[in-house]
Symmetry: C2
Subunit: 343 residues, 2 copies
Amino acid sequence: MVTTKDIAAHLQLSVSTVGRALADDARISEQTKVRVRQAASELGYVGNRAARMMRGASSNVVGLVIPDVRNSFYSTIAHELSAIMAGEEYQLMLAETFDDRLIERRHLRELSASHAAGVVIAPTPNPHGDSVNLLRGMPHVQLLRRHASLGGQWFGLDDQRALQDATAHLLELGHTRIAYIGASEDLPTGRERLEGYTQALLADGIPPASDLVELGPPASPEHAKEAIRRLLNHPTPPTAVVLGSVQHTVGLLDAALEIGIEVPSELSVVGFGDQSGFSWWGPGLTTISLPIGDVATSCGLWFIRRLNNPPAGNDPYESVSAGWLVPRGSTAAPRAESRKRSA
Amino acid sequence: MVTTKDIAAHLQLSVSTVGRALADDARISEQTKVRVRQAASELGYVGNRAARMMRGASSNVVGLVIPDVRNSFYSTIAHELSAIMAGEEYQLMLAETFDDRLIERRHLRELSASHAAGVVIAPTPNPHGDSVNLLRGMPHVQLLRRHASLGGQWFGLDDQRALQDATAHLLELGHTRIAYIGASEDLPTGRERLEGYTQALLADGIPPASDLVELGPPASPEHAKEAIRRLLNHPTPPTAVVLGSVQHTVGLLDAALEIGIEVPSELSVVGFGDQSGFSWWGPGLTTISLPIGDVATSCGLWFIRRLNNPPAGNDPYESVSAGWLVPRGSTAAPRAESRKRSA
DNA sequence: CTGAAAGCGCTAACAC
DNA sequence: GTGTTAGCGCTTTCAG
C-alpha cells in the first residue's frame, strides 16, 4: 500500500506538503502540486479512506433503504442509482426493510455507524423515533414514499393523479360500480391513491361505497387475490376494478386467470405501474405507466450534487412526476345487463 | 460517540484492558470482562470500524458484482443475499457491470480499496487481468457464471441439463427443426446451454444445423427479436424454438405478439427461467424453472461461514442446482404439414 | 493479570 | 511556501 509518507520520501518533502498538494491547498506552489500529483499516480497512490474517516470524514457509501428489491419499482430504482453513484465515486449499499420499522432502524444504525455519506430511503409506514434521529444526522432524501418526520426532501410520483386518471378512464367508459384494491392508508402513498380514486368518483357525482374498497399491505399479491374474490361474491359485484399498487396488480392478474374472470366483458381492470408482462396478460392490461426510472435518476443526480457541495440550510425540495394511462384491452364499456343492474 | 477510553475512565481501567476484555482475551479475569461488557452496553459503546480498519481489519462490506439488477435473476439474488447478510452484521454493496470488464474492474478496485470483507460475483465474459489479481486478495465466490481464472468456488445451475431437458421435451413432441436463441459462447453459461441443446439433438440422431442457432449478448431482448425474424424467414423455418437466457425469452415473447406468431400451432416455444408474467403470456409459457433463490441462499450461507472462520486452504467448492420443466400451453406437437415439410 | 506506549494514515493547528 | 507535531480510536508489543 502506497501512502502519503512514501510519496513524501520519494520527493524529499514532508507528509503535510504532500497532503496539502493532493487536497489542492492554496498555499502550495503549482509546481510542487504537479510533482506530487505525478508521483502519486506513478506510485499508484490510493487514499486510505479508513484514515480519513478517523479524521471525521464520511465514507463514500450511500445507503439505499427500500422495502424489497424484487419489486420491479425498487429494482429499477436500485439500478438507476447504482449507475449514477458508480460514475461519481460513490458506492451503493443495499438495505431491504420488508416494511418492518425495526429492520429499517437496524439498517440506519449500521449506516450511521459506518459514517455513510448519505441515505436514499423509501420509508416504512411509520418509522421508529430512533430512525428519525439517525436520519437527522445524515444527508438523506425520500423516494416515492414520504413521511413528514423525515424532512422535506422528496422525489416521488403524483399518486393521487395516477388513481384519479385511472378511475376517470373507467367512468368515461360508463362504469359506475368501480372497486379499488390498494395499499393501506397508513402509507402516505396509500392515502394519496385512495384519495385520487375517491375524488374521481365524486367529480362524477358517484358516492364512494366502502364495500368496494379493499385496502391491504402493499407488498402482498395475496391480498389482491382475496380481495377480488370478496368483491365478486358481492350481491351487486363491481363492473370494474382499479389497482393501487404493483404487487396488488400482479396478484389480481394471477387470480383473474385462476378464477377465470372474463376481462373486460365481465370486469374491466386498470393496473398500477407498467412492467414486463403486463402487456402480455390476457387482452393486454390497461394501466397507469409510471416514470420510476426518471424519478430515481432525478433523485440520484440531485442528491449527488447535494453531497458534493452541501448547502447551508436544509430547504425542502419536492419533485412530483406524473404517470400516464396506457390503454390496452382490459377495459371496455360495461355490459348492458350490468349497467341496468347497477342503475 | 462512546470510545474504549470512555469505558476505561468510567471503570478506572486502562484502554488496553478494556480492549482486551471486549476481544475476550484469555489473560483478562472473568470478573473484569463482565464489568467491561456491562459498562459497554450501558454506555452504548459501538466499536469504531474506521479505527479497526486502520489496524488492518477488513470492513463488514460484502460486494455483489452482477451485470444488471433489473434482471429478475439478479434481483432475486440481491434480495436473498441482502437478507442473509443483514442477519449476520454484514452489509451488501451493489455493483453493476453491464457486462463491461472495465466497469467490473473499477468496482473491484473500489471494493478492494475499501477493504471489503468479500465479494460475490457473476463475472463478465472475460474479466480483466487486474480483476483477477484484485479478487485474489479478497475472499470471493462466483455465482451462476464462472470463470476458471477466478478460482474454484462456485454456486450455479446445471445449464447444460436445463437446455437438454428443454430440447428433449420438444423432441418428444415430434419436433425435428428446433431453433436455439441464446447467450453467446464467450460466456461459460452460454457454452453449457448450447452444449445441452446440441447434445439433446444428437441423442435423438438429429444433426445440429448452424442456421438454426442464434447467439447474442445475453442482456439484450432485441437480439431475440431480430433472431426470431431471421429464423421465420428461413425457407424451411423451425417448428419450435428453445431460449437460452431470460432476456432473450422476454424479447421473444414481445416479438411473438408484435409479429403475430401463432403459438403453439405455428411455433412451439420453451422459455428460460420462470418469472412473474411468463404464465400469463398467450397460452402460458412452457419453460425451464430455475431455483435461483435457493442457489443464492446456499451461496450466501456458505460464504458467510467462510468469512466468519476463514479456512486454511482455498479448496475448490462447487454446487450445481438443477431446474425443471414447467409444461404450459406454448408447446405442442408440430402440425402435420410442418412435419411433412421438414421430412 | 494489568498498564504504558507506539503506531496504523491522514489532516489540521501551529510554527518558521 | 513548507515543516513539525499532535491526535482521531483501536490493537499490540513491551513492561511490570
